[in-house]
Amino acid sequence: MKHSKHLYYHLSRRRFIKGSLAAGGVIVGAPAVLKGLTRQAKADYEPGVIRFRAAGTTATPGDWSLFEKETGLKMVATVEKDDPGVFYNDVMVNDAGDRFDIYLSLAGVQQTLAEGGWVLPIDGSRLKNWAGVSSDVKDIPLLKPDAEGQNWGVPIYMNADTFGYFPADLDEPRPPDPVSWGLIFDSEKTMGRVSIDDNYFSLSWAAGYMKAAGLADISDSANMTASEVETVADYMIERKKAGQFRNLWNTYDDQISNFVNGEVLAMRCWEPAVKDARGQGLDVVYAVTDEFYIKWMQAAFIPSQAEDRNLDEIYTAIDWLLGGGYAATLTPLRGYVTSRPDLGLEYAKEMEMGDDVVASMEENLFKIEVKFAQPEFWFSGVPDTLAEHERHMARFKNV
């Protein structure tokens, strides 16, 4: 049978070598092509447009129309997973600074970025709302990791996290009465009906509970030593084998789905998830506790690539995030505390945004007094023994 020349094309060795050399030329030239594509990405910058890399869906105030009205800038927000590793990858490997003008991420991640020259130091004099930010907020060590005390990030919003639970189903008190983190880690009432973060962060939450319950001697739950991490992971594995956990959540939608689909009775989660679930008619509340709060802060960072690009616009945008409009929109929607809650309250009253908005702004004052006053613990998301955390979390997940 005669084979088709389309399928059996004869290729001599000499011809193949010549062709391969040409292909090699293409490979050698590829970096230039890729560089061209990067330049194209840089060219995506448009004057008057702020490209915002937000961490997690809850950073956005619904829509940005108020921002656009009050600043005259256009906002293009991209929501990424709230994970320091993902953020580092994007900034340091994928040149996110070419594509974004502002990063929002957990305060505490910036030390590596500052050391590597990936972000710019903050010039507070360019922000009119900066001077009024409480020194309890802007001077915390999370924001000033270096010896010089230079500020590398602008605190935008923060919270003191706990967990959500169904008080009626569990016969537990409602806030402001405190409950124990034992509902998450060690309770017959919630056995098999608990969800926690699918992240090494969970080791720090378990450490906080073990420390409060006197189960282990841990110096800093947010920055454990390798042996402390191992002790905590052993405990979590023991609880997992006992059947404590229903699942591990990964995204905000997972959290909502766990509540709405009746998978859990208690879940370590974000406060907005509880607000969302309550909005759907569920009797779930966000815990007040005497044991510890996970205090975290989302800060804005300026990529070093923006230095000669659009710094004025970037400072204008960050100043708006510090202002009353953002606070009066974000706080009622998510329950988060912004850096200038005073401006938020003022704005809500001035703009006659309604009693419920004013009430939620005032509720935040309680949160600041009660929750943020607890000593345990500020969380940066990047412990010194990061690799150990990941190794032991993998061990936990693998059981």
């Binding site: 399928l7 490979i27 590793g85 699918d198 699942n247 689909n261 998978e263 990941e390 693998n398």
Partner: protein
């Protein structure tokens, strides 16, 4: 059947959707007739292959033998990353991933082969084929997460299955293992990986000349013998492709393990992702390289099977006869 009618039918293109796809027929006129027949076609494919597949794989293997500090690779050869795989509970993850992928692939093959056989030879209606092609394709217009997450509503504690079982009095309490468990992950994989198993088997069976099947029947062959001695051997390229298209992507799937497994079933893809997020690129590369090596080793039984029936060239030549 009259020989004239047989001849007419054998000339009919097997490609089932007139106007779609390449001119793909059984007469041996060429697979990709629109491509220019020149050595540059070969070099073009070679270049794309080298750039898109080989170079990343070579770099992956190279990185797996290096140290990392932060995001930087240090060019000192070491096996540290391979030792890390075992410290990161790698073996159980690798074995679990291979076991689940192999089990689901076998289930898919058992379901897909008869379906593909019926679609290719059991029905002569283009309308029926078109309907089934559409049904197979429609879910792929949705994102993988969207088409997977619906199972949570069906399989969850308050889901459809538990509700029905409880209302029928079969169970008193919701069954927990329907979701966030290993059986649930097996189930979750079956839907998305059914079409990749069906398509290649369907194509290879479609290419079998009907005259061969009729000759078998005319010679008194039982349908079982026709299946065993004609259809299965000639469908082997499709079966092999189906296994590869099903098994290999399943190893890289993060959606099902996440949404259906709920973090309780740790698979390779999630492990590699976790390693990347903590910037342990060398260990992630080592784990990926290890899987690559395993996949290559697993090709051996397939190669041996194909050789035992004459090799790929012989099979394609048979299909063109």
């Amino acid at each position: 059947m009259a020989s004239g009618a047989r001849a007419a039918r054998s000339r009919r293109p097997v490609w089932p959707l007139p106007g779609f796809g390449p001119s793909f027929d059984t007469r041996g006129k060429g697979l990709f007739v629109w491509l220019p027949v020149s050595h540059w076609t070969v070099y073009g494919f070679t270049t794309v292959w080298v750039l898109g597949v080989l170079v990343p794989l070579v770099l992956l293997v190279l990185f797996s033998f290096l140290k990392t500090r932060g995001i930087q690779f240090i060019f000192e050869p070491t096996l540290r990353a391979y030792l890390d795989i075992f410290e990161y509970a790698g073996w159980p993850v690798i074995l679990r991933s291979l076991r689940i992928a192999a089990t689901v692939t076998i289930i898919e093959l058992i379901i897909a082969f008869p379906f593909a056989l019926w679609l290719a030879k059991g029905t002569r209606s283009d309308a029926v084929r078109l309907t089934f092609f559409t049904l197979l394709m429609v879910p792929f217009f949705l994102s993988p997460a969207s088409r997977t997450i619906v199972w949570r509503v069906v399989l969850g504690r308050n889901g459809l299955v538990n509700s029905v079982l409880m209302s029928l009095g079969i169970i008193d309490e919701p069954v927990d293992w329907l979701l966030f468990s290993e059986p649930a992950v097996h189930f979750g994989f079956i839907g998305p990986y059914f079409p990749p198993m069906v398509w290649p088997i369907f194509l290879s069976i479609s290419l079998i000349d009907d005259e061969l099947l009729e000759a078998s029947r005319d010679l008194g062959g039982h349908p079982r013998h026709t299946l065993r001695h004609i259809i299965i051997p000639l469908a082997i390229p499709g079966v092999v492709a189906g296994i590869v298209f099903t098994f290999v992507p399943m190893l890289g799937d993060t959606v099902v393990a996440h949404l259906i497994g709920g973090g309780n079933v740790l698979l390779l893809s999630s492990s590699i992702y976790d390693l990347i997020t903590v910037m342990n690129y060398a260990a992630a590369a080592a784990m990926a390289a290890f899987v690559l090596a395993l996949i290559l080793i697993l090709q051996l039984p397939l190669i041996i099977t194909i050789r035992s029936i004459g090799g790929v060239n012989e099979i394609f030549a048979s299909l063109r006869r």
